[in-house]
């Protein structure tokens, strides 16, 4: 927990959880996809639900365009979605035992698709809790590199070996219940050098590599 989480972010009102946090969740999804979003389906739960046709909380969408919480383009993001021809759909869902402010995104780019569950925990802070069915915890308090692999445990071991001289590194693995998704998450206080990222992406069994940047 850091001082700029208590005073910050700079945001558009009215709600740090429903505007700033929502925008940050969407932006995390955009980063994790790693390419331009062509289609997005949003499943909304709890106080993110769309009640009575008021229209989707645009902050949930702004981040998919890469907008940050204080980006002046945020207020017109629905126009920008239309201009770019991005297909957007949403529905209210019930999610068992989920946080009050939860959204599940299924986003498609030209090359790949990801399904991400994100939560806006309050004060503009977020947590990404699931990627393609694998439970994770990404809060933006650190840089996160995400490797999708054939065998998470093996990849984690190889990653730890590769990174043994990097300070402050945490390596975690996670998989979906059906084991179809296997992820390795590498959390660091500073961004990994490009050379290291390249070496990670070249480890055996790595399918693709993405990440989430620490909030400044």
């Amino acid at each position: 927990m850091r001082v700029f989480e208590l005073i910050g972010p700079i945001m558009f009102g009215p709600s740090s959880s429903h505007t700033a946090g929502a925008c940050r969740v969407g932006r995390a999804v955009w980063q994790i996809l790693g390419e331009d979003v062509r289609e997005a389906h949003l499943e909304l739960y709890g106080s993110f639900s769309d009640r009575g046709g008021r229209g989707l909380n645009k902050a949930l969408v702004a981040g998919l365009l890469g907008y940050d919480t204080d980006d002046d383009r945020l207020l017109r993001c629905m126009d920008h979605i239309k201009e770019k021809g991005i297909r957007l759909t949403w529905e209210n869902v019930h999610l068992e035992n989920a946080h009050m402010n939860t959204v599940r995104y299924t986003v498609k780019g030209d090359q790949r698709q990801v399904r991400v569950v994100g939560v806006s925990v309050g004060g503009g802070m977020i947590e990404i809790r699931e990627i393609n069915g694998a439970p994770v915890s990404i809060t933006g308090d650190y840089h996160t590199a995400i490797l999708s692999c054939e065998n998470g445990q093996a990849a984690a071991t190889a990653a730890r070996e590769l990174l043994k001289r990097e300070p402050g590194v945490t390596v975690e693995s996670s998989s979906s219940a059906d084991l179809k998704t296997q992820l390795v998450l590498i959390k660091t206080p500073k961004p990994l050098p490009d050379k290291t990222k390249y070496e990670l992406s070249r480890l055996p069994g790595i399918l693709w590599m993405t990440g989430h940047k620490m909030f400044e």
Partner: protein, 288 residues
Amino acid sequence: MPNYKLISDVINPAVERRVSVGESVMLDEMEESGKGREAVFSKMKKQLTVMRQASIDAARETVKGLLYDAEAYKMARAIREGVLPNDLTARAVQKAIAVNGWNSLSGKVVATPTGGACGILPGVLLAAQEEWGYTDDEITLCMFAAAGMGIPIALNGTLSGSVGGCQAECGSGAAMAAAAMADLRDGTPEQVAHAFAIACKASMGLICDPLGSVSCPCVKRNGMYAAVAISAAYMALSGIKSMVPPDEVMLSFCEVSLEVGKKFSKLAGKVGLQRTPFAATLDPKLFH
């Protein structure tokens, strides 16, 4: 780097270093982030600029919305015309209303610690700046005290109104602002802790019951909690201490906030003011 789990974790390093709480928290942030003084300080100072701009933009006569009716303008006019005294509290309340009013209209603000409470700290500090002539740098430094002191609440309780009631947002905001004001006025770290604890006591059980989205009664609550923060700081700066030690107050505050938030959860239906006949006249689509 201490993780600020308790108030003591924020205060003790300031005592050991023999600096203000704001300076101590900033030093901790520099260490944690690996960034220099200039980078850390200017980031906070930029946020002060956003707060000030919001307090100005919102106070124009034409600023109105569905549940906001130029309140900041009305109060500024009342101060100008001598209906209200032109004193610290009146100006702090007016500025808190302005900034939170701006938030309710989707204006640009700083989450302090949330959107719902974003007027309280700016209200207190901008008014204090006018009252005593502090520089932007001096105000910026005490903002670090506010931020640091809020961390134990985030770690032990919640900052989200949906989870912990308005206590979690305005209650936290007021406690943070009280700490900042005590720090600004050269209070000892111990006095900063007592200002924080005294302010916490003013919101035990405060529920989150907004009509529409963060407008009513949020804007006026921000105004009132700016006055709470000032009152708590006044007491602490006088040497008055919270009878219950600050850490115990903070933990109790967090416990109550979570209990009350659960009991009055919006998932269970309408809460407080949302149940009034007036609320029933509003477009149901306004409600979260």
